[in-house]
């Protein structure tokens, strides 16, 4: 492996990492919000919306992100919806992630016994107050390992962004390999940078999971 090449390429990978992270966290934030809203819709069994959210989940869980991105980026402009590649990345990741986040929150919500809701209601709280103050905080803490798993999954999924010409890590690696054929160096940096991005989340996930398994509120 050529050290000079590594040093030369480093800034390119750094920029690519920042781009991936920028799109990544916005997409994940969007997924989180969709997850909260969607699971609340299921929780309150809102008619019509419940069906729409159900269809959305099935559509986005049963198709690859790559195909979703192609549809948003290449097909939608033909019906007049034109968005930038970056926004497309955020939207694609957010919509895909949202479908998974809803399921994660939903199983968290379902894990809270009904009588907790009843006891909040008996104190005169309305449905939203009950959800917000009593049910959601418990559900989220149950969902944390699942949420972190989703975050890792989504960060990994960002690797398809290069297909809509976003200059992310994959794009950079492929581009450099194509141009200068320094394959080993390029692949090495690719792995290193994905590790930089994913290892911390993965470690936090492992710690949190252990904590939750052995501890609870009041430790």
């Amino acid at each position: 492996m050529d050290k000079d090449i590594l040093i030369e390429y480093l800034p390119l990978y750094k920029d690519a990492l920042f781009l991936t992270l920028k799109i990544g966290w916005q997409g994940i934030l969007l997924a989180f919000v969709i997850g909260l809203v969607g699971s609340a819709i299921f929780h309150f069994k809102v008619p019509v919306l419940k069906t729409i959210v159900g269809v959305y989940i099935e559509l986005f869980r049963n198709t690859p992100l790559l195909v979703q991105l192609f549809f948003i980026y290449f097909a939608l402009p033909k019906v007049g919806i034109q968005i930038t590649a970056e926004l497309c990345g955020v939207l694609g990741l957010g919509l895909l992630g949202g479908a998974y986040m809803i399921e994660t929150f939903r199983s968290g919500l379902e894990a809270i016994p009904v009588i907790q809701t009843e006891s909040a209601l008996s104190l005169g709280m309305n449905d939203l107050q009950t959800l917000w103050h009593v049910i959601l905080p418990q559900a989220i803490s149950i969902s944390v390992p699942g949420l972190l798993a989703n975050v890792i999954f989504l960060l990994k999924e960002t690797s398809v962004f290069s297909t809509i010409s976003l200059m992310d890590l994959m794009f950079t690696a492929k581009d450099l390999i194509g141009m200068y054929a320094k394959t080993i160096e390029c692949l090495f940096l690719l792995v290193v940078f994905y590790l930089i991005m994913l290892l911390p989340v993965s470690i936090i996930g492992a710690i949190v999971e252990r904590r939750l398994r052995y501890g609870q509120f009041g430790d």
Binding site: E58, L59, R61, N62, T63, P64, L66, V67, Q68, F70, F71, F74, A75, L76, P77, K78, V79, I152, K156, E157, T158, S159, V160, S162, T163, M170, A173, K174, I177, T183, I184, L187, L190, V191, Y194, L195, L198, L199, S202
Partner: protein
């Protein structure tokens, strides 16, 4: 307004080509899943064996697969092996290799989980009857894990099919690539074909994956 490309799909053999492209992904998925299930059973059992070095190696294997995007693995195998070992691996074999490598780890972890869920006393009572380890796994433990494993393995199929869409990135002509070719060829006559074509590709994936994941959910609920 121009048409949205549905007509292009039914021109000549276009739709058939699209389906053939889809089959390329599905074929790679099915081969990889089949290999993953067999190897995963083995790896899963090994994961439950009380041997520290073995456990550590398998742990590293699992975590590597979990943390690296499949696309990165695909790149390493497709571009890297040629370079380092001088192998001339075809894109298809690279894809099958990577997806099996990934699927085996996932399957192995599922197998490990379901073996762990069988109470220890089941092993002990099998040993007490004079069975050896292989007999114990074969006749007592694995049959008990099957009901849990089948829905999970079916789920792995949909994940695999979705993931194989990545093979386009290493030059395999699958459904998206065929779609692009069709759009390109009809650029002049049907400039908006991208909408119809990609919408149909989206739906094709859905039509393939949705019934499979419904089946998995159904079995999971029924056998829970």
């Amino acid at each position: 307004m121009d048409s949205l490309g549905i007509d292009v799909l039914f021109k000549g053999t276009n739709f058939l080509r699209l389906l053939q492209g889809l089959w390329v992904s599905i074929e790679i998925s099915l081969i990889s899943v089949a290999l993953s299930i067999v190897l995963g059973l083995l790896i899963g059992i090994l994961m439950t064996v009380d041997n520290k070095p073995l456990k550590a190696i398998l742990k590293v294997y699992l975590e590597t697969v979990r943390i690296m995007p499949q696309m990165v693995l695909l790149f390493i195998v497709y571009f890297g092996t040629t370079r380092v070992f001088g192998w001339d691996m075809s894109a298809e074999s690279s894809a099958i290799f990577v997806f099996t490598f990934w699927g085996t780890a996932e399957m192995g972890d599922l197998v490990r989980g379901s073996i762990k869920s069988v109470p220890k006393i089941q092993f002990e009572s099998a040993f007490a009857l004079g069975m050896d380890k292989i007999q114990t796994y074969l006749y007592i433990i694995l049959p008990q894990t099957i009901r849990r494993l089948i829905p999970l393995s079916i789920n792995l199929i949909t994940r695999m099919i979705k993931t194989t869409s990545l093979v386009m990135m290493i030059g395999i002509v699958e459904v998206l690539k065929v779609g692009q070719q069709i759009i390109e060829a009809n650029r002049k006559v049907s400039p908006n074909a991208a909408f119809g074509v990609f919408a149909v590709v989206f739906l094709l994936y859905f039509i393939v994956c949705w019934p499979i994941s419904r089946l998995a959910t159904y079995l999971e609920k029924r056998w829970a």
